[in-house]
Amino acid sequence: MPLVNFAAREINYKIVYYGCGLCGKTTNIQYIHRKINPDVRGKLVSIATEEERTLYFDFLPLTLGTVRGMKTRFHLYTVPGQSYYNASRRLVLQGCDGVVFVADSQITRLDENVESYLNLWDNLIAQGDDLSRLGFVVQMNKRDLVDVFSLGDLGDLLNHTGSPVLPAAAINGIGVFETLKAVCKQVIAKTS
């Protein structure tokens, strides 16, 4: 649900990076923060444990230029990946306009990916929403590692909305901005 502030000439969208523990959600946000034009980004806020695992969320606001008289902002969030923190995940999902599902492509992480994907559906349904109404893209992360699923096989399991699928190696920045661009385009398309 975008916040459209006509008086301030602003449109604000909320995008959430979702996925299982250690799949690379925070890595995406940190890379964007490091590499995007500093004039565009705000402060990166992270609520993490001492071991640098996300406890509540990471938050990064991006402000784009004025388009048709309106300034557009994207507020990027991550959720904690560990299933133990599901209550926090639900809170972060509230009012979101788009979701990036970050999948860990490694064969050994299949169960965690599927569990997280189903959990995403459950949490959206619990708040009266579903992925077909949101901007949604799937990022197949860790493509630089060996023993990974094919994009097709993983897509069959983690993409039931025919949404864009993007390969990535977020640790090296590969696919990070492509993913961001794809989800932002989806989000705008869903509200136009």
Partner: protein
């Protein structure tokens, strides 16, 4: 294509909200007042010489408030409608205006919390009436095909690796 409804603030609504916030600021002698969405986005604020980082403040406040509401559920309480943090120099008071908007106030130790609560309650009733007016919602049409195309060009320019660390 499905269109999802969001929170739309019109010129008239913002003007009325700003007017009320500044009046409230004068009455309470507080440092900062802000309206934020429950999704964590700033809407407007009234502040003369205290300017916190509003994006982080809005995001963290909305999250803390959402967590507080969840705590109420766990404790079988209908809801906690406000959040209060007491600091050495600054206190933070957050109250729910409606299901999409929160009012946050920061104030010094010289301002009695009872006074903040009383005036906040009265202001919320007025804010609810202001925000309940949806007569300007047709302005949502600004997000059209032309906007979409222009945004694509803007994103192609901005969302890229600029190489610096």
């Amino acid at each position: 294509m499905t269109t999802r409804r969001g929170l739309i603030i019109t010129d008239q609504q913002l003007e009325s909200c700003d007017q009320l916030l500044w009046e409230l600021k004068g009455l309470l002698n507080c440092t900062f007042l802000g309206l934020i969405s429950t999704a964590g986005q700033p809407i407007t604020s009234a502040s003369s010489d205290y300017h916190p980082e509003t994006f982080s403040l809005a995001s963290l406040t909305a999250s803390a408030f959402a967590a507080t509401r969840q705590l109420a559920t766990i404790l079988d309480e209908r809801e906690f409608t406000l959040l209060f943090h007491e600091g050495d120099a600054v206190n933070l008071h957050v109250a729910q205006v409606n299901d999409q908007v929160l009012l946050l106030i920061t104030f010094g130790r010289d301002v009695p919390i009872g006074q903040v609560r009383l005036y906040t309650q009265r202001s919320i009733a007025v804010l609810q009436r202001i925000l309940a007016d949806h007569s300007g919602d047709d302005q949502q049409l600004i997000v059209d095909d032309a906007y979409e195309m222009s945004m694509e060009r803007e994103m192609d320019q901005v969302f890229r690796d600029n190489g610096s660390e």
